[in-house]
């Protein structure tokens, strides 16, 4: 189009479920990053109806105490068509809103089309036993398929019965910003519609095979029929907001009928269950004053996932780090950093962008974990380092991501559980490289790369998500490292970077009796991506994985799986480590406890477990109802900080508190430390879990009742 290219940002947006119909906007600043003009660091969500006003503690829940959803906000940016705009970063980029001028034409409206679906139940298992991640897709292989026992369906995921009965497909919905004050819902009561390029308007597609399987029945014990995946609406300036589901899980029998009595026996791959997370493509059309329209060539993608219970806690390895690594190493994104298969040893990393976030993230873990004071102090010291060459060799403490130290725990950092098939977490390769370069004294004099506002948004959204530990993780999984996931035509100025390789969907060609969506994207294969293909690899339902991912022993364990016979051999690692604490807080300091003893000069109170409702007191060898007796070795300390019966979390996730910074908490005392990050808005009135004991914890630790 003329002299201008248009792109939607963020390339991948994140919405988060909530049981409230109300919402706030997802954060548009990077977690824990210093913000100009305020003591409040980045990562806090934004109040709805505002440009960037961050929420307070009272904004987390609605008047009924329900947890608000987090909306993903999408914006359109225009880039001048020049040499500069085809690289990374693309120079410039101005937001296009209603009233903006694009190629000398005034924008009077924006039409958005979004398609949400959930294919989890017709996906392959993450395979908790094999624990190999993407390797299970290598050489033409697949992991086992979920719901293999489903009614009369073959083990072929393209079986029409499977596609119909195991896939939630709300279909496309379009919204015109000028009429966008009324949300458009992705539910079974509304018709699919979309922007039709031929007619130049939104057209209804009554024959679209909207699928909400097993949606007839009554809620029971955390199972609820799912007939809604979310909704879209627009801001008055034309930006799109995507809201996700209510955080429901839904059980069904092998005939595909709603059946709340199904068991929930695994942490990740539960057959006979659905949830209402989703993902899908986002498209936009500009409407000009002269009546002409312009459909943007490129699309964005929205992913709906779990709530952000600690939005300001930065992951040591974020989803951005994994996506960025893939683009550096596979797409020649920044040849000055990585080219011809290796990193440039002369590259000067910009400390504040390339190194500091990793150091800061380590420091931030104290708010979500039971780190001992010695570790907190050490992290704090590291966080205070500057761009100058550190006085000692910091790399002695950093695990090499080359795989040689995957089974080495302390003193190597990060000291949390690793990716699939890796005992411990490693930094992404470019994180490690940047840190090496800084450690060698190459940071002073470095210049930052200047991201435009849109590209910064691409990065920010992913920085605030979990990376590193993709077994499967919670926001996106190992597919983030698969080049096949992305549109490789990134130098096309109308496409740009970090775009999902979206399959073109022709909504004019549908059959009401035939599932519209197929298998779609398969890891390590070139198949293009359909709605539902990103979330499908995640835990089903997400709740069980979240509940489980408190602390575990490393897997693989260097001495083999812990059992009764080898427990005291010293060869197995019986120490418990955190899974992904920045995204799934384990131990927290509560604002309520802080205020209960204000005479303590604002000193931090003792910690509590984030999950601490009835049913969280640790027991061992518990067999959840209907589940086979597990032969796995089990001791109480292995089960602290979570619901002992997975099913309980299906209803209790709404009661989990959120960790935010002191100054963002209503009535935060003036003299108290403004760098505290405290849990607020927890609905757990009683602590029924266990006392938090500082790390290191081992599997045979005694557990104690929680403090009063």
């Amino acid at each position: 189009m003329g002299n201008t290219s248009l792109r939607i940002h963020p390339a991948i947006g994140m919405a988060r479920v909530g049981n409230s119909p109300d919402y706030y906007l997802g954060p548009e600043t990077m977690a824990a990053s210093p913000q100009e003009g305020t003591e409040i660091t980045g990562g806090l969500p934004i109040k709805k109806g505002t440009e960037s006003t961050t929420i307070n503690s009272s904004d987390l829940r609605d008047a009924q105490g329900q947890l608000k959803k987090q909306a993903a906000r999408f914006k359109i940016f225009q880039y001048p068509n020049s040499e500069a705009s085809v690289g990374y970063p693309a120079k410039g980029g101005d937001e296009v809103i209603i009233g903006s001028i694009v190629d000398n034409k005034k924008v009077v409206d924006i039409i958005w089309t979004v398609h949400l679906a959930n294919k989890k139940a017709n996906c392959w298992e993450i395979d908790e036993v094999a624990n190999k991640g993407v390797k299970l897709y290598e050489n033409g292989h697949f992991p086992p398929l979920r719901n293999l026992n489903f009614k009369s369906a073959s083990s072929n995921p393209s079986d029409p019965t499977r596609l119909k009965k195991l896939v939630i497909d709300a279909g496309p919905r379009a919204i015109q910003a000028s009429k966008g004050t009324i949300p458009v819902k992705f539910n079974s009561n509304t018709k699919a519609n979309y922007y039709d390029i031929n007619s130049g308007g939104i057209v209804e597609q009554p024959n679209y095979p909207i699928q909400f399987p097993a949606s007839q029945g009554s809620s029971l014990n955390g199972s609820a029929p799912i007939d809604y995946l979310g909704e879209i609406l627009t801001e008055t300036n034309g930006r799109l907001l995507v809201l996700g589901g209510f955080g429901l899980a839904c059980a069904f029998d092998n005939d595909g009928n709603y059946d709340p009595n199904q068991n929930l026996c695994k942490d990740v791959d539960n057959d006979n269950w659905l949830d209402d997370t989703s993902d899908g493509v986002v498209n936009a059309v500009l409407v000009f004053e002269d009546g002409t329209k312009h459909a943007l060539e490129g699309s964005a993608w929205v992913v709906v996932t779990d709530p952000a219970y600690a939005p300001q806690t930065l992951n040591v390895v974020s989803l951005w780090d994994d996506v960025y690594n893939t683009w550096l190493e596979k797409f020649n994104l920044r040849p000055e950093v990585f080219s011809n298969g290796k990193y440039n040893v002369d590259y000067k990393p910009f400390f504040l962008d390339d190194v500091y976030p990793t150091l800061n993230a380590a420091h931030m873990q104290m708010w979500n974990t039971n780190l001992p004071s010695r570790a907190i102090d050490a992290h704090y010291r590291m966080m205070q380092l500057t761009e100058n060459k550190p006085s000692i060799d910091i790399m002695q403490f950093i695990r090499n991501p080359d795989g040689s130290q995957d089974d080495k725990g302390a003193p190597l950092m990060p000291l949390s559980l690793g990716d699939s098939d890796k005992g411990f977490l490693s930094l992404s390769r470019q994180q490690y490289f940047f840190m090496q370069q800084w450690n060698n004294g190459l940071s002073p004099g470095a210049t930052p790369i200047q991201l435009g506002e849109g590209e910064q948004l691409d990065k920010t959204i992913l920085v605030n998500c979990l990376g590193g530990r993709f077994s499967p993780g919670i926001d996106m999984t190992f597919i983030a490292r698969d080049p096949n996931l992305y549109n490789q035509d990134w130098k096309n100025p109308s496409i740009g970077t970090f775009r999902i390789n979206a399959k073109g969907l022709d909504y004019s060609q549908v059959n009401v009796n035939t599932p519209f969506l197929g298998i779609g994207y398969i890891p390590l294969r070139p198949d293009q991506v359909e709605p539902g293909d990103l979330c499908k690899f995640m835990s089903i339902p997400w709740h069980t994985d979240y509940n489980s991912c408190a602390t575990h022993t490393p897997a693989p364990n260097p001495g083999g799986t812990v059992n009764k016979e080898n427990l005291y051999s010293g060869d197995v690692n019986t120490t418990l480590f955190w899974s992904w604490p920045a995204q799934r807080p384990v131990a927290v300091y509560t604002f309520e406890d802080l205020m209960a003893n204000t005479s303590n000069n604002g000193a931090l109170p003792e910690q509590r477990f984030s999950l601490r409702g009835k049913g969280t007191a640790a027991v061992e060898n518990l067999t959840p109802p209907g589940c086979p007796v597990s032969g796995d070795f089990d001791m109480k300390a292995m089960n602290v900080g979570r619901y002992q019966n997975r099913r309980d979390f299906l209803t209790e996730w709404v009661n989990v508190g959120t960790i935010i910074q002191g100054p963002a908490i209503d009535d935060y005392p003036e003299g108290f430390d403004k760098k505290y990050y405290l849990e607020v808005a927890s609905n757990f009135k009683e602590d029924d879990s266990n006392e938090v004991v500082f790390w290191p914890n081992v599997v045979d630790d005694e557990v104690y009742p929680p403090k009063a």
């Binding site: 010695r374 570790a375 102090d377 050490a378 010291r381 590291m382 550190p390 006085s391 000692i392 060799d393 002695q396 403490f397 130290q405 080495k408 725990g409 302390a410 003193p411 190597l412 000291l415 009764k564 016979e565 080898n566 427990l567 005291y568 051999s569 010293g570 197995v572 690692n573 019986t574 120490t575 001791m635 006392e691 004991v693 500082f694 790390w695 290191p696 081992v698 045979d700 630790d701 005694e702 104690y704």
Partner: protein
């Protein structure tokens, strides 16, 4: 009697030579097949793996002073047994009575690294916190066990000569320099003797102790204002001996305990089964393994501060008998312990103590260098590779990254340092926590995590 012992010794020696055809090797050396070679390659005719026995001259009068400079530096000439022998020799020599005191009781305290207190020999028992865990070992009488740290003149003088008590000097000190041969540091472990308690098998002594008080709500020694109780009757239950011998600047870390302290875990010890059906000094009969060695850092409280009684009692068990290691290592320790006890006079209380184990480097596989941690590279660590003293490292025995001496006593850098002080680079002498603690203004030395 003496002739009988000598005859037995010769018999063992001969049998040992025979058995060594198959099993004799250093901890990591292939077995040698020629008896002559075996003799030639051991530093002492008695230092034979598989037949590890103490020389007779240790038991005829005074214990010969160990000669760390004569320790064979060439590992080809060293056996696993040699390290245990020198460990035992130090133990016997240090516990030998000289002028009415045990030899180690005339050592300097760790305060002697400062010029102003360089002659400090006031052996107040001033440590109750166990390393890293913040727990206290509470004995069956509800009293805390006590420790102190001692050094010899070689250690002290070298630190003073190099001004390593000065943090700035320490920070800039050559990372590759080592402690001089002959440096010794000790950590003692004492149980408070109750009135009427049978301690006939233990070495007892009278020491001043620093009393516990409520520090931030938990029983601790108030280091800012410690209360002292004079002349408390205490019994020695554990002794760490760290010594630099020629070729081993990493120190040989040896540990000794009273026989009756605590039971060993059994093979494939079941966590829900008792470790022993007998009462031990620090263990109540039929306590399960999972209830043993329970860190009380979060549960500790006074029963009565006035009489210094605490709860809960710690039930101590030794997770790794002999500190683990190879069969050769374990066999040597067992054999040598038996042998020494047999040779000690019947009225020697040291017959009631044993070497738990010792750990050092196989220098064919690596030598001490800065930024080394066994949790990253343990290839050169040999001997009792999971060595803890059950009275000093009770609560860290089951933590894989903390369950041996080098886990903490290594050459990694230190990041958790007082504000305003530079982070400390990895150095060979960081193996000594006396110096690290001094650099850290007396704060606990964290392992890196």
């Amino acid at each position: 009697m003496k002739n009988k012992i000598q005859a037995l010794y010769l018999l063992i020696l001969i049998l040992g030579f025979v058995s060594c055809k198959k099993s004799n090797k250093t901890a990591d050396k292939p077995a040698e097949v020629e008896n002559e070679l075996i003799v030639e390659k051991t530093s002492n005719p008695s230092g034979i793996d598989g037949n590890c026995v103490a020389p007779l001259d240790w038991f005829n009068g005074s214990v010969p002073e160990p000669k760390p400079k004569d320790f064979p530096p060439d590992s080809l000439k060293l056996s696993n047994c040699d390290f245990h022998l020198v460990s035992w020799q130090y133990f016997l020599w240090l516990t030998e009575e000289v002028n009415g005191k045990l030899r180690f009781e005339s050592y300097f305290t760790n305060k002697a690294i400062h010029p102003e207190s360089k002659n400090d020999q006031y052996h107040v028992l001033d440590i109750v916190e166990q390393a890293l865990s913040k727990g206290l070992l509470v004995d069956q009488n509800n009293r805390a066990l006590y420790s102190n740290i001692l050094i010899n003149d070689i250690y002290r003088d070298w630190v003073l000569d190099n001004k390593l008590y000065d943090p700035e000097v320490y920070a800039n000190f050559d990372p590759t320099r080592n402690f001089p041969v002959g440096s010794v540091s000790l950590k003692t472990s004492w149980k408070i003797v109750q009135p009427g308690e049978d301690v006939s098998k233990l070495h007892t002594s009278s020491y001043d102790i620093e009393l516990l008080s409520n520090v931030k709500g938990v029983p601790r020694i108030d280091k800012n204002n410690p209360k002292i109780q004079k002349n408390v009757n205490v019994a020695l239950v554990g002794l760490h001996i760290a010594v630099v011998v020629k070729g081993h600047p990493e120190f040989i870390w040896a540990s000794f305990e009273f026989d009756g302290n605590a039971p060993d875990f059994g093979d494939q010890q079941d966590p829900n089964k008792s470790v022993s059906d007998k009462d031990w000094l620090l263990y109540k009969a039929n306590t399960t393994a999972r209830q043993s060695n329970a860190n009380n850092a979060r549960t500790l409280s006074f029963i009565n501060e006035n009489d210094q009684t605490l709860k809960p009692v710690t039930q101590v068990a030794r997770q790794f008998a002999q500190g683990g290691g190879s069969e050769t290592n374990i066999g040597n320790i067992k054999h040598l312990n038996t042998n020494v006890k047999e040779q000690l006079s019947a009225n020697s209380k040291w017959r009631n103590y044993f070497e738990v184990g010792a750990v050092w480097f196989n220098t064919d596989k690596g030598v001490l260098k800065p930024k080394w941690d066994p949790n990253i590279d343990n290839t050169m660590v040999t001997g009792s590779i999971k060595l803890s003293n059950s009275t000093i490292e009770t609560f860290t025995q089951n933590i894989r990254s903390e369950n041996q001496c080098f886990s903490c006593h290594n050459s990694m850098g230190l990041t958790d340092v007082p504000q305003g002080r530079p982070m400390l680079a990895g150095k060979n002498i960081n193996t000594s926590h006396i110096l690290l603690r001094n650099y850290n203004d007396g704060r606990e030395i964290p392992i890196s995590n």
